[in-house]
Amino acid sequence: MDTVPAKQVAKPVEPVRRRRSGRVVAGVAGGVADHLGVEVFWVRAVFAALTALNGIGVLAYGLLWLFVPQRAASAPEEPSTNPKERQQALGLVALGIGAAVVSGLLSGPVSGWIVGPLAVALVGAAVVWREADEAQRRRWRDGAKSGFLGTGRSAITRVLAGVALVAIGIGVLLVSSYGIDQLRFALLAVVATLGGVAVLTVPLWIKLINDLGEERRVRIRTEERAEIAAHLHDSVLQTLALIQKQSESPREVKRLARSQERQLRDWLYGRNADDTDRPTTMSAAIAKASGEVEDQFALSVQQVVVGDCELDHNLLALVQAAREAMVNAAKHAGVGEISVYGEVEPEQVTVFVRDRGKGFDPDLVPEDRHGLADSIRGRMDRHGGEVRLRTTPGEGTEVQLMMPRKTSGGAGRADTEART
């Protein structure tokens, strides 16, 4: 039971896979060479030689092309063909075809009238098959978005050209052997048969298309899940690891948890990183300022904003003043929570920053403390706003900030003035 075949352990058998790069026609020769561990030149030479024997080489190549899958996109890239090797390979292809024609002519029964059209048809088939390979590779690359065959104009052109070549080849072949009248009858029979087959196999086609769609959906879902997993790993799991490491410091744990919570919310509720980097609305700006204070001072800022509007020059000053008020509360009040409430009304925007901390006597604030005077009062005054302060030692502080909104008529002009 427990013995494992030694050979399998020593060297896992690699199935044959057609090369994706470093190929001349379809990568069959390269794939076989990789599988056998020989120079690709010799494989090509053997195919060419076999082609001389009544075209067996072409047949073998075609069958391998059909039945051997391409190497999957996830496999490592092989080196691509250099021009010299490519020339060599094309030479071998030409040699093989030439030899086949010569041997066919020499051996008599096969006439040039048959070989010529057949070769044309084969080239056409090769073009179409190659395009199918391309489409598969595109599908790997684009993640299940493109269809069976390519959709680009050049792809369609190639496919049509290939089909035309095949049709011409077969047509010439048939005309040469049967003559026009018989051909017309045969053509009708063939078309009728094809039509019948198409009708009979409709369910099969539908199932095939449905299966492909289903597979695509599954793949998209899987990709989405992978993206979510990656995000959670980068953010939540890292933070949890940090929290475990810092578990003896409750302050730090709280800070980490709050900042992670905020990030996750932003992500879940679709506020993307660009918006939060440079908020453009009042509510986003207040949220960002609150978050920064939370992070910096390891406390929680309970923020509520009612209504919303675009941020302009004056409102930006209002947000900055509010942020300064939060920082003051965090530094001096000695509390674990600050309440911030913003309300956007048609005529003005109001922000309240409140703590239930120590409070202070405004008259006793030392002269060198510029926070309230400059950062809050000065800023609000410069932009036409108003500050009110309510504070009682022992009961906490509330800073009330009011900024009138520009009326819609004057807003444009004022904005340009502010910018110049």
Partner: protein, 221 residues
């Protein structure tokens, strides 16, 4: 004074077992004002448990599989009108919060609330008051705001907040306690409670299209 009063019987509904255990441990350890009598991890369990135990207050998670807190409310409220529901959630999406309130919850608090405050909130809803966290107050103010394109007012009694109710809500949103609101507005705490209950009733009953549309428009944090 808690000596004479029997403890408030609380039932926990949350699909996270870890969170239930945490709340239960906190509530049991800090006070005997409340008594956790049961818990449930799904809508089905909750309906069975609440019908069986008939608790005073149900602490209800907003987000759960199979319809969430609103579904529990729909299935239980008509049969047991005396059971009071308090929504407790991490979800700050306005539509979820408003939905649970409209389904009949008497209040909404976030899961980051401190244990003491949670106890206070539970006792308060058990006495028939509404509990508005600052965030809920903000949502409701926003929902009743008069903005261009708002739905016409069909019933002024239900579709508009009085200036006084607006003042109370603003102060709630600013983080004021009832007592502080009362002294700020020179009214009694009882009057504050009346205003808040009235706002709750309007939030639940107003048919203003704006309420629901606003909530789905704005999934804000």
């Amino acid at each position: 004074m808690t000596g004479q009063k029997t403890a408030v019987r609380v039932f926990l509904v949350d699909d996270h077992a870890l969170f239930r255990a945490g709340v239960r441990a906190e509530l049991d350890s800090i006070t005997d004002e409340v008594d956790v009598v049961g818990e449930a991890g799904s809508v089905g369990e909750a309906v069975v448990g609440i019908n069986h135990l008939k608790p005073d207050v149900v602490l209800l998670d907003v987000h759960m599989p199979d319809g969430g807190g609103a579904e529990v409310l729909r299935q239980v409220r008509t049969a047991l009108p005396e059971v009071v529901f308090l929504a407790l959630s991490v979800s700050d999406a306005a539509e979820d919060v408003i939905a649970v309130i409209r389904a009949g919850a008497r209040g909404y608090v976030t899961k980051t609330i401190s244990s003491q405050e949670l106890v206070r909130a539970v006792v308060r809803v058990s006495e028939g008051d509404a509990v508005f966290s600052p965030r809920l107050a903000g949502f409701v103010l926003d929902a009743f705001a008069d903005r261009p394109g708002a739905a016409p007012i069909s019933d002024p009694e239900l579709d508009l907040l009085t200036p006084r109710e607006r003042d109370v809500l603003r102060l709630l949103a600013r983080g004021y306690a009832y007592k502080e609101i009362a002294s700020e507005l020179f009214i009694s705490v009882k009057t504050v409670e009346t205003h808040v209950s009235s706002v709750l009733r309007k939030t639940q009953l107003s048919n203003r299209y704006e309420l629901s549309r606003w909530a789905s428009d704005r999934r804000l944090v």
